[in-house]
């Protein structure tokens, strides 16, 4: 046989000057091995390994592409690497936060009575005993849980009617009037009010009306409403806007009054979106710390009355247990309680987010034909 007869596998002219499909995988494998070798030299660290591999991978792929495909393709590869890399970087804190809270929070949550007892009567002596003699950590978050639920409930009762009515005004009556436009603008601006300023406003308001030093659950609820109303307005407005106009016109054609149309036709159509928006708003304010810190004070015992006396809440409980441990010489039991409370709070917020998504998906209005 002569050499001319051997079938030569020629690459198509269309794919000439391109990296083969398996190029990224090869570069990735080489980068992983190389960086593992570097790590073995200077001491292994999982984060460092990932970082060095990523840099080597990007440099290798871009360099190879530059040599074979030219600078334009290489720049494209570099941009892709940077974009994917930034997404991976954004995932790091999420994973790290959830992992830290789970690892530190589970022991606290496992304590008997953590969810059913308060901090009433729990002093530093108990904590010292649990550290020095191995006694179980006493005290729990029942008072904070009750406080959080009551304050959020009152805030919801204040914000939902105001927010929903405003959204109805903007969509059904506003007609792009100057008043409607200024309300839209200031609602947007209100979403940017720092939470601590909302707390100071509620405090200053009640100091001026009721008397200096008024700190109750109701003051905290007013502060949270200031944060919650704009969120409710925005989400309800979006939902009311997507109700098809044909439904309104059909109702008007039957001689139904405008307010009856809104109550019986428009709102029922949009109710799932409104409900999920309200749930998301609750999820947003339930974790707010700063406004409660300046309005409800710190309590260690159970208080069911929103209108008198200091009230605890989960976020402020976490904050005080970390900054001012019950026993200053042995802060470990306090930090265990704080992480347990943080885990409960995260679970609450995630549940609310999940519920909101389920509501939105299950009862999504069918706008199509």
């Amino acid at each position: 046989m002569t050499a001319t007869l051997t079938p030569v596998k020629k690459r198509s002219a269309l794919t000439k000057g391109q990296l083969p499909k398996w190029a990224p995988y090869l570069v990735l494998a080489v980068a992983l091995v190389l960086s593992a070798a570097i790590m073995a030299l200077i001491g292994f660290h999982a984060f460092g390994w990932g970082l060095v591999s990523a840099i080597l991978f990007a440099a290798g792929l871009v360099g190879w592409s530059g040599a074979v495909e030219g600078s334009r393709k290489a720049k494209d590869k570099l941009a892709t690497c940077l974009v994917v890399g930034s997404f991976l970087i954004a995932l790091l804190p999420l994973v790290s936060v959830i992992w830290t809270v789970l690892v530190n929070g589970l022991p606290g949550l496992m304590d008997p009575g953590f969810l059913t007892t308060s901090m009433n009567g729990v002093t530093g002596a108990f904590d010292n005993k649990s550290v020095e003699e191995g006694a179980p950590v006493v005290g729990g978050i029942f008072h904070a849980l009750i406080g959080t639920l009551l304050i959020t409930l009152v805030a919801t009762i204040i914000s939902v009617p105001i927010g929903l009515l405003t959204a109805i005004y903007l969509v059904e009556y506003g007609n792009d009037r100057p008043l409607a436009r200024s309300i839209t603008f200031f609602v947007d601006v209100m979403t940017g009010i720092p939470s601590i300023v909302a707390g100071l406003f509620a405090a200053a308001f009640f100091f001026a009306i009721v008397g200096p030093g008024t700190k109750t659950g109701a003051v905290a609820a007013v502060a949270l409403s200031v944060l919650m109303i704009p969120v409710v307005v925005r989400s309800s407005e979006e939902m009311l806007k997507i109700v098809p106009n044909e439904l309104r016109e059909a109702a008007y054609a039957l001689g139904v009054r405008k307010w009856r149309t809104i109550l019986k036709v428009v709102i029922p159509t949009a109710i799932s979106g409104i409900a999920s928006g309200v749930t998301l708003a609750i999820a947003r304010v339930i974790g707010e710390t700063a406004p409660i810190l300046v309005t409800a004070g710190f309590a260690t015992s159970i208080n069911y009355n929103v209108f008198s006396g200091w009230m605890a809440s989960l976020p402020t409980f976490i904050y005080t247990q970390i900054l001012n441990p019950t026993s200053p010489s042995n802060p470990d039991p306090s930090s265990q309680r704080a992480w347990g409370a943080a885990l409960v709070l995260i679970i609450l917020v995630m549940l609310l987010n999940l519920i909101a998504r389920l509501i939105a998906r299950a009862f999504a209005p069918k706008t199509g034909r």
Binding site: S86, T166, I183, P194, I229, V294
Partner: protein
């Protein structure tokens, strides 16, 4: 009139219309009243601090000597957060809108939104207990190798509880806000522009550089400013992470303080003129964030017709 019988046949119905539209109007006006009330009550309660004799204020040199270091501290923390968060947020938004597989894109967006769902106090606790400890060796390295820069002047804080750590935690907290706003804008780039540039032979990056980014520029600017507003007012991350102190140029030493954290740390035990001082500090913060947010919203409204952002 003969036509009135049609429209006023049921007086109750008309009254219902009046009552209902009146109620919605009242709710709308109440929101405006609340916003003005916020400003009014803050001014009224802050007034004693602004007029008090200088030695009554914390620090003993009057309100302005008290407020300006923490205003600068607030700006430093917010700047660090923006410098870190903006490029990453734009990258993440591009990844979700133009790089990720279409089926994955919405669930990836949800993952980033999860970052926004975590309460701020949990971020603060994470920053204080985990990040500060892990990052302090890096600060030692910066202090010994780049100490000639004023911002990395040593000795580095041994606990890692510095303004740079607080800024990093703030960056994590504003990342989802900037991401979700810029993502919406990237998705609204006219499909025809994108396809035209691809048809002319542009690579994906060239398409993004020439079609997507110019279209989205005003939206990106306003998203960054909204993130800035959030970073300026964020309390817990700074209050828990930073061991505060006097104003210093070095980012890796203990020191600096922000307005929000100053209020949160001191308000619970404050009384008398101290309360007024802190409320006045809150007023300053309110004015700064209001300005930033109004500029951002103004940019969005100005470009609404052709970008449809937000």
């Amino acid at each position: 009139m003969t036509t009135t019988s049609l429209t006023s046949s049921r007086g109750a119905g008309r009254a219902g219309d009046k009552v209902f539209s009146g109620a919605t109007l009242a709710a709308g006006c109440l929101i405006l009243a609340v916003l003005f009330g916020v400003a009014l009550f803050l001014v009224v309660q802050a007034f004693p601090a602004l007029t008090a004799s200088p030695d009554m204020i914390k620090g003993g040199e009057g309100f302005f000597a008290y407020i300006w270091p923490i205003v600068i501290g607030t700006l430093i923390a917010a700047t660090i957060a923006l410098v870190i968060a903006t490029p990453i947020a734009i990258g993440v938004a591009l990844f979700i809108s133009h790089f990720a597989p279409r089926q994955l894109a919405s669930s990836l967006g949800y993952v980033v939104d999860l970052l926004a769902a975590i309460p701020s106090v949990v971020y603060g606790a994470w920053g204080a207990a985990f990040l500060a400890k892990e990052i302090s060796p890096a600060y030692n390295w910066l202090a010994s190798n780049m100490g000639w820069l004023p911002i990395f002047q040593g000795p580095a804080s041994a606990t890692g509880k510095t303004i740079l750590t607080a800024g990093i935690v703030l960056a994590v907290m504003i990342l989802p806000i900037i991401t979700s706003l810029t993502r919406e804008i990237f998705l609204q780039t006219p499909k025809l522009h994108e396809e035209a540039s691809l048809a002319l032979g542009a690579t994906r990056w060239e398409m993004i550089k020439m079609a997507v980014l110019p279209f989205a520029r005003p939206g990106i600017i306003s998203a960054v400013m909204l993130g800035l507003g959030r970073a300026l007012g964020e309390t817990m991350a700074v209050a828990l992470v930073l061991s505060s102190g006097a104003l210093t140029a070095s980012l890796i030493q203990t020191g600096n303080q922000t307005i929000a954290a100053e209020i949160a740390l001191n308000f619970p035990e404050a009384s008398g003129i101290q309360v007024s001082t802190l409320i006045a500090a809150g007023l300053v913060l309110f004015v700064i964030t209001l300005g930033v947010n109004m500029i951002a919203r103004w940019i969005i409204t100005r470009h609404k017709e052709f970008s449809g952002a937000n």
